[in-house]
């Protein structure tokens, strides 16, 4: 009797194993052992693929039907689902709960940008080896690697410092936060390190506020634009004395700190009637500028267009939806038309009037004879004068010539009502 129970148990376990292992075969009622081999009978080129040193597990075990539907599919390559759904059905553990940073292409499910789903010459089935893969997209970093001063870990591989998919607690997919990550290699207690940093407790700050960790033309790996007090090693112009208890703390807050050297600029701002308010915000000038060094001119935090777009996302959105892309905005040159600090009058314009701003690039007389200016009263509203913005919206519209309306007749007959049909 006891033996009978054992036998039944063994039969049950064996049947369970067969059921699980033959999942794909069962689904399409394939003959036992036919899976994989059957596909390769037509897809002969895959015979070569599976000779690669790194093969995706389902391919290796011939389970083509784990990802593909052999009969019909609404997805390309006869896939059984969206690519991302297929990948995440096995690799779901790659996404932790609420990660701090995520690789953009990873969340979008564009796994095949980096991985070959069948097999490859590279570990993890990567389509290209090492940094070559990353630099396919991150070309700005690639150019830095070729710079005069190089950072050893970058040459070893991006994965020395970054995770490929997500970072649970760190920004920019870093394995650890700055400066902890840097301190793994750099001995911050050394006399030479302290001397180099004028005895300031820089480990309380961020190394990347001065150093361009991917490579630089400026020793020691500094960003190309360095704030004069940093370059002249006069940190105490802004920060407390290095020996003080709160050495990193700045002597003043917000714009008041910058006013010490940039008094002319700040006084000029105060003299205007229209102010770009973030200047007076809690972070003051640091809302847009970096304090120590930057890759951008004027120590901007990032390229001007991106920087402006952080707050003015709606304006940037207009550009995206616009049929005609206004060149200055498209190129991120918002400051061609707008002054970033202050002006007399609305819009923070660089010139006294809209017409003068547009005339910096456009010779309006050459494309229209329509009167504009102080003497041309807008027929829609006697308080308005006709200027470029009477017909065109400078940040873009979904219509041609950045007109406010799809039909030019509708636009013109707003004023010239006598011609309205």
């Amino acid at each position: 009797m006891k033996h009978q129970y054992k036998l039944i148990l063994w039969i049950f376990i064996a049947s369970l194993f067969i059921t699980v292992s033959a999942k794909g075969e069962d689904k399409f009622k394939l003959r036992p052992g036919a899976s994989g081999k059957l596909c390769f009978s037509c897809h002969v080129n895959f015979q070569e693929k599976i000779k690669n040193p790194f093969i995706h597990a389902p391919v290796k075990s011939g389970k083509c039907t784990d990802c593909h539907n052999p009969h019909s599919s609404k997805y390309p390559k006869m896939l059984s689902m969206e690519i991302s759904e297929i990948c995440f059905s096995c690799h779901s553990k790659l996404i932790p709960d609420k990660p701090r940073s995520v690789h953009n292409i990873f969340v979008k499910g564009m796994c095949l940008l980096c991985h070959d789903s069948h097999g490859s010459l590279n570990k993890f089935n990567l389509v290209r080896p090492g940094n070559e893969l990353c630099f396919k997209c991150h070309q700005d970093i690639a150019s830095k690697v070729r710079a005069r001063f190089k950072h050893n870990p970058v040459e070893k591989g991006c994965l020395s410092c970054h995770n490929a998919h997500v970072s649970r607690n760190e920004e920019k997919l870093l394995k650890e936060d700055d400066p902890k990550l840097c301190m793994k290699c750099h001995q911050t207690g050394k006399a030479s390190f302290l001397k180099q940093h004028i005895n300031y407790p820089v480990t309380k700050g961020r190394c990347t506020s001065c150093h361009d960790v991917h490579g630089s033309e400026k020793a020691p790996l500094l960003y190309s634009n360095v704030h004069t007090p940093v370059a002249s090693r006069m940190c105490n112009q802004c920060h407390n004395d290095p020996a003080s208890a709160d050495a990193i703390k700045t002597k003043k807050k917000g714009y008041e700190l910058c006013r010490g050297c940039h008094s002319k600029l700040i006084n000029n701002i105060f003299g205007k009637t229209m102010i770009h308010w973030p200047i007076f915000g809690k972070d003051g000038c640091l809302n847009c500028h970096r304090a120590h060094a930057s890759t951008e001119k004027a120590l901007l935090k990032e390229k001007a267009g991106n920087l402006c777009g952080r707050c003015h996302s709606d304006t940037m959105g207009k550009l995206e939806r616009s049929l005609v892309k206004h060149e200055p905005i498209k190129n991120g040159n918002c400051i061609i038309c707008h002054t970033p600090h202050a002006a007399n009058g609305s819009y923070l314009l660089t010139q006294p009037s809209i017409i003068e701003v547009c005339a910096m690039c456009h010779r309006w007389q050459s494309h229209t004879t329509h009167p504009i200016g102080e003497k041309a009263i807008d027929q829609r509203n006697k308080n308005l004068r006709v200027d470029c913005l009477s017909c065109h919206r400078s940040h873009g519209t979904p219509f041609k010539r950045m007109f406010y309306m799809e039909s030019q007749i509708d636009l013109c007959t707003q004023c010239h009502v006598e011609y309205k049909r």
């Binding site: 105060f270 009637t273 229209m274 707050c311 709606d314 009058g345 609305s346 829609r380 509203n381």
Partner: protein, 301 residues
């Protein structure tokens, strides 16, 4: 059956109490547009509009002047007296207090000027009893029913509450992780509302008078660049979306109710509107900046 009916009633009661169904119907009807003072001198880029039950004051910003009107029943106006005040350069936010006086933010001096009911400059509001030495930079301000002044101090990242003489009564820091706070409103109970232009959110002191907490989730679907806010007697919030020329009407619980107005030149439409003000009679006043006019709407519930 009785149990089932009871269950359904309970579920509905819970849903209503959470404000999922909005019973608020609020519409806004255009009444008139004002283009000029009593002498026919047109407005130029007006950025401020202050209102009470019977007074309307316009900050005619680029003409460097204030213009005072008398409000009549039905939302019409008479008067339109020009106040040219040499001390005032580029007037911005403007408010009328309970005594008929006007307080206005001077863009150049970044100070609040006090103007008598007959248009005489009475000096600047001096802030006293302020702890710490930090400079106060008022971006805008509001008054409550008792003429207390609520200053949006961008530099300090806080709302400064002053009594009518300028003595500091309270300071409430902006909420954590705010984007950029561009305006505030105060309701009849003294609850403060903050408008975050970048995060497209409203914060309020309704839950805790010393702390701002979110009233709404990100309402970027309803307002793309919200810059001005006001609240009526019943707690209905009106938010001006400057770049789209739209008014978003928000319920007491932060629920979106409706849109009013649109971008354009016609009366009732707005182009880069600035300050918004509502009076106790339910009239809504908007400085329609780029149309060089003031527009009056009536709120209908």
């Amino acid at each position: 059956m009785k149990r089932f009916t009871g269950f359904i009633l309970l579920v509905n009661l819970l849903i209503f109490s959470q404000g999922v169904y909005s019973s608020e119907t609020v519409k806004v009807r255009h009444v008139i547009s004002i283009y000029a003072d009593s002498k026919g001198n047109g407005f130029f880029m007006p950025q401020g509009v202050g209102c009470s039950e019977n007074i309307l004051v316009v900050s005619d910003t680029e003409n460097n002047r204030l213009v005072r009107f008398t409000l009549n029943q039905g939302g019409t106006v008479t008067g339109g007296e020009e106040w040219k005040i040499p001390e005032l350069v580029g007037p911005l936010s403007v408010h009328v207090n309970s005594k008929g006086g006007t307080l206005v933010l001077d863009a150049k001096n970044l100070r609040i000027a006090m103007i008598s009911p007959i248009g005489k400059f009475e000096g600047y509001l001096e802030i006293s009893d302020l702890s710490g030495s930090a400079e106060v930079i008022p971006m805008t301000f509001k008054l409550d029913n008792n003429d207390n002044v609520y200053i949006l101090d961008v530099s300090g990242g806080k709302v400064l509450i002053l009594d009518p003489s300028g003595k500091v009564r309270n300071q409430i820091p902006f909420p954590e992780n705010y984007g950029f706070i561009s305006d505030l409103a105060v309701d009849s109970k003294g609850v403060i509302y903050l408008l975050d232009t970048v995060n497209k959110m409203i914060y309020t002191t309704a839950k805790d008078p010393a702390l701002f907490s979110p009233l709404s989730n990100d309402f970027s679907d309803y307002a793309k660049f919200p810059t001005s806010i006001t609240v009526d007697n019943e707690g209905i919030i009106f938010v001006v979306d400057r770049n789209d020329g739209v008014i978003a009407i928000i319920g007491k619980n932060g629920n979106f109710i409706a849109h009013a107005a649109a971008y354009g030149w016609k009366e009732g439409q707005l182009r880069y509107p600035a300050q918004i003000c509502i009076n106790k009679n339910g009239f809504l006043f908007i400085a329609d900046r780029d149309n060089n006019r003031i527009q009056i709407f009536q709120v209908i519930k």
